[in-house]
């Protein structure tokens, strides 16, 4: 197991290099970012040239990448076009997004698995169909609509919760955005749980457990749920990273200065320092989440072994 973990950690190095290079190339494929700094005006050629020099934009791509990586290893992520260091952006954005993700993830886990279990055990009945309808609503109405509707109703019309988050990233302000962010993933988790529960409810160990006269609750939680969780855990692992990097819509609606928002700004302004910096950290989180999921497999199903 220890060797397995070490091997997985070592594999992060090529992924890290591969991703940063790919993102670097992609940002550059978008074209020259300097003209946009001058707004609707044609850039002064002398000034534009000097700005390109500052960001190494005149070097061949591989040299730019090497220069960037060289600085990265000294923990220098470069600056944005507005002169702010990317390190300071990372330091404000990641804690904010971590909090939002924690709220959304908690909602997703508790309600997703809960609803899935309910609908799997009550297959074909009202509860099951209600969960199905909820799933359909969540999938077919895009996040930006649910976000605006909830913000308008809860935050503005009823005044029940703060309408936006802003610079006060507190739990009560994050619940509404957390629900919006979790909604689509919640649909996945509920459907996945339902399906595996339906499959496993007929499994032999459940029958054995019931036959032995174990209390229903114990059968459901210790036997049924535990064995049904592998696909759900896999999904949750992939979703953790997606929640952090893909919260753009939610972050914009609720004025959260987080990873998704800065990443969007970096992409639209074509600043490779910002984009590569944020994606680098995100990829590390994806990799860690994957490793965790693979280790959880062994916990959930002891027959799975890692050498």
């Amino acid at each position: 197991m220890g060797r397995y973990v070490i091997r997985r950690l070592l594999q992060m190095i090529p992924v890290f290099i591969g991703t940063t290079f790919l993102i670097f190339v992609m940002v550059h494929a978008l074209g020259d970012p300097v003209n946009a700094l001058f707004g609707d005006r044609a850039p002064d050629p002398a000034v534009a040239e000097k700005i390109r020099e500052q960001y190494n934009l005149n070097d061949p791509l591989w040299l730019q990448y090497l220069k960037y990586m060289g600085k990265l290893f000294r923990w220098d992520f470069g600056t944005t076009f507005s002169g702010q260091s990317v390190t300071s952006l990372l330091a404000t954005a990641f804690p904010t997004t971590l909090k939002l993700t924690a709220v959304a993830f908690t909602i997703e886990v508790i309600f997703g698995i809960g609803l899935g279990l309910l609908s799997g055990l009550r297959r074909g009945r009202v509860a099951d169909n209600s969960v199905l309808i909820l799933t359909l609503v969540v999938i077919s109405i895009p996040t930006f609509v649910t976000g605006y509707v909830l913000q308008y109703l809860v935050g503005v019309k009823w005044g029940a919760a703060p309408a936006t988050v802003g610079d006060q990233v507190t739990l009560d302000r994050l619940i509404l955005p957390g629900v919006v962010l979790a909604s689509v993933s919640l649909a996945y988790v509920a459907r996945l749980t339902r399906t595996t529960v339906v499959e496993n409810v007929r499994a032999d160990y459940v029958r054995t457990a019931v036959a032995k006269g174990l209390p229903r609750r114990r059968v459901v939680v210790n036997h049924l749920l535990r064995n049904s969780l592998i696909p759900v855990v896999t999904f949750l692992g992939t979703d953790l990273g997606a929640l952090m990097g893909g919260a753009l819509v939610t972050e914009r609606i609720f004025n959260i200065h987080g990873v998704g928002y800065y990443l969007y700004q970096g992409i639209v302004r074509q600043n490779s320092n910002t984009v590569v910096g944020f994606v680098t950290i995100l990829v590390i989180i994806y990799l860690a989440a994957n490793l965790l999921v693979d280790l959880l497999y062994a916990v959930l199903d002891p027959r799975i072994r890692y050498a």
Partner: protein, 545 residues
């Protein structure tokens, strides 16, 4: 520990981590956020500035709004009439419209206590023009003699300062321009011409963290990309002293988020209103909403550098397209009357004496579907068979471009005569415009730098000018503008500019669409909210309960 217990333990840990991560900060006080604090401080919408906050390095409205609060230039524009009047300048005089003497008022101070002298201006302008300082507004100094030495088109600058700028004494300096420019003093209210304190040059990094100026406000605190707190400058010598206890600018990720905060009473002043809010805003805010003309005109430009758009026939086609656009309905339905159909190439904020002339464009800018179709057919149809209108998809343009296209399609009786062509980012869009890669129409807009008719014509339509995106080149037009620039009499100058403008109305390098208004909404605790002609709130006048 058994496997089951381990899982259970892991879940408990994960949940408590989540709660700690979010719960910990919930005890931190939430005093400063939003409105509701009764200390006379106004909270206002803000967007993150695109460039570092330096006067000559700011070319967009968010950075500009702050610079206007913390600096006072030689001249300032009246928020109501847009007339330029002396602010820090005692006088700006010239006998030949080319060599100017500037005298400044004595006794003014920067908020760090150092005096504002003639050198504060000259040093700042030289800094702004020098190409190695990478200031995006450097071209504002192009009319000053010696500009080409400090910002050559290629290579290193031959000089560090412009030969046209000379300090005479502490309160006066002279400026030699490279050409006659009678209205030059009236351009000096623009942010690039603000003075800079000594500390700007001695400790640049500290200045960028907290810029120092001579304006009505000083920056008390600035959390970059989150919020900025401005407080009245106790040493301010100007007449427009703040009537509030300060302004807190909050950076919003999205205009809709700001509008939600405004409705919920967490924001006092919002001049970044989203289009979608305009339909309901009167009832949402019980009339606390202002919609007034601003110095912005929207146009559709054409690539006159493409052979099929530069012909005489293509001119007829452009006239036809212009007559096919139902400006009245689009401004009413899509923009809820926050735009006014354009009938010339300037803006109503200039006023009649300033050069605005209603109806200068004539029938060409009026809807006439039958004539439109006839003109387009007479011109041999739309080059390429289909008109594309390019726009940057990261801005709020899709809806009106689609509406313009539908308007053209209806006139032509062909649902595919015109389509919108989104370009992913503004940067990519500008690269295509700048690189002369357009093959059809594309959106262009002009926000004035200073309220002069010259600013609507010279930078946009003179041959090779910095914002001449269509590649328009007409010697007669260039000569007329140049003649107007040298005209000492204001009324005569305006008449010359308008003669030049009439050439645009026939050549139609760009189709005028509509004049853009400035809009602002405010909370029930704010009053005396108004907008200047640049669609920025006059922050000093706002009061809160």
């Amino acid at each position: 520990m058994s496997a089951v217990a381990r899982v259970r333990w892991a879940v408990i840990v994960a949940t408590s981590v989540a709660l700690v991560a979010t719960g910990c900060s919930s005890t931190s006080s939430g005093g400063g956020g939003g409105g509701g604090n009764a200390n006379g401080i106004v909270t206002a919408w803000w967007g993150d500035p695109a460039n570092p906050l330096e006067p000559a390095n700011t070319n967009e409205v968010n950075g500009g709004a702050v610079l206007d609060m913390i600096y006072t230039g030689l001249v300032a524009y009246d928020p109501k009439t847009s007339k330029a009047g002396n602010a820090m300048a005692e006088s700006i005089t010239s006998s030949d419209q080319q060599n100017w003497t500037v005298k400044i008022k004595p006794g003014w101070k920067f908020s760090d206590g150092t005096p504002v002298t003639a050198a504060s201006f000259v040093d700042a302008w030289n800094y702004g023009a020098l190409s190695t300082n990478k200031q995006v507004g450097s071209s504002f100094f192009q009319y000053i003699q010696g500009y080409k030495d400090v910002a050559p088109t290629s290579g290193s600058p031959a000089a560090q300062t412009m030969s046209g700028l000379k300090v005479v004494d502490d309160t006066s300096f002279t400026v030699a321009l490279s050409q006659k420019f009678s209205t030059w003093p009236q351009t000096l209210g623009y942010a690039a011409y603000y003075p800079l304190p000594k500390s700007f040059f001695t400790d640049h990094a500290a200045f960028l963290d907290k810029p120092v100026g001579n304006g009505p406000y000083t920056i008390a605190a600035w959390t970059k990309s989150q919020k900025m707190q401005l407080r009245p400058n106790p040493d301010y010598s100007g007449s427009n002293k703040p009537k509030n206890a300060g302004i807190d600018l909050k950076v919003y990720t999205d205009t809709n988020a700001a509008y939600a905060d405004l409705q919920a009473g967490n924001l006092d002043v919002d001049n970044g209103l989203p289009n979608s809010a305009l339909k309901t805003i009167q009832s949402d805010l019980s009339g606390r909403f202002l919609n007034q003309p601003a110095g912005i005109i929207q146009t559709i430009s054409f690539p006159l550098y493409q052979s099929d758009w530069s012909t005489g026939n293509a001119k007829l086609v452009r006239q036809g397209i212009s007559m096919a656009i139902d400006r009245a309905t689009i401004t009413k339905v899509v923009f809820n009357n926050t735009r006014t159909p354009a009938t010339d190439f300037t803006s109503p904020v200039l006023g009649d004496s300033g050069g605005y002339k209603e109806g200068l464009c004539g029938d060409t800018c009026k809807l006439n579907a039958a004539k439109a179709k006839q003109l387009i057919q007479q011109g041999g149809g739309i080059p390429g068979g289909q008109l594309t209108i390019s726009y940057n998809a990261d801005g709020p343009h899709k809806e009106w471009v689609d509406a313009v296209c539908n308007s053209i399609n209806n006139a032509m009786g062909d649902t595919k005569a015109c389509v919108g062509r989104p370009v992913g980012t503004f940067a990519d869009f500008r690269n295509q415009v700048h690189g002369k890669q357009m093959t059809g129409g594309f959106r262009t807009g002009w926000q004035m730098d200073y309220p002069l008719i010259q600013n609507f014509l010279q930078p946009v339509y003179v041959t090779g000018a910095s914002s001449n995106d269509s590649g328009y080149s007409n010697k007669a037009f260039d000569a007329k503008v140049s003649q107007a620039n040298g005209e000492a009499d204001a009324a005569k100058a305006v008449a010359d500019y308008q003669d030049a403008e009439k050439m645009l109305a026939t050549d139609l390098p760009a189709i005028p669409l509509w004049y853009q208004n400035g809009t602002v909404g405010w909370s029930s605790r704010a009053s005396s909210v108004m907008l200047n002609p640049f669609s920025v709130p006059v922050y000093t006048e706002i009061t809160v309960k």
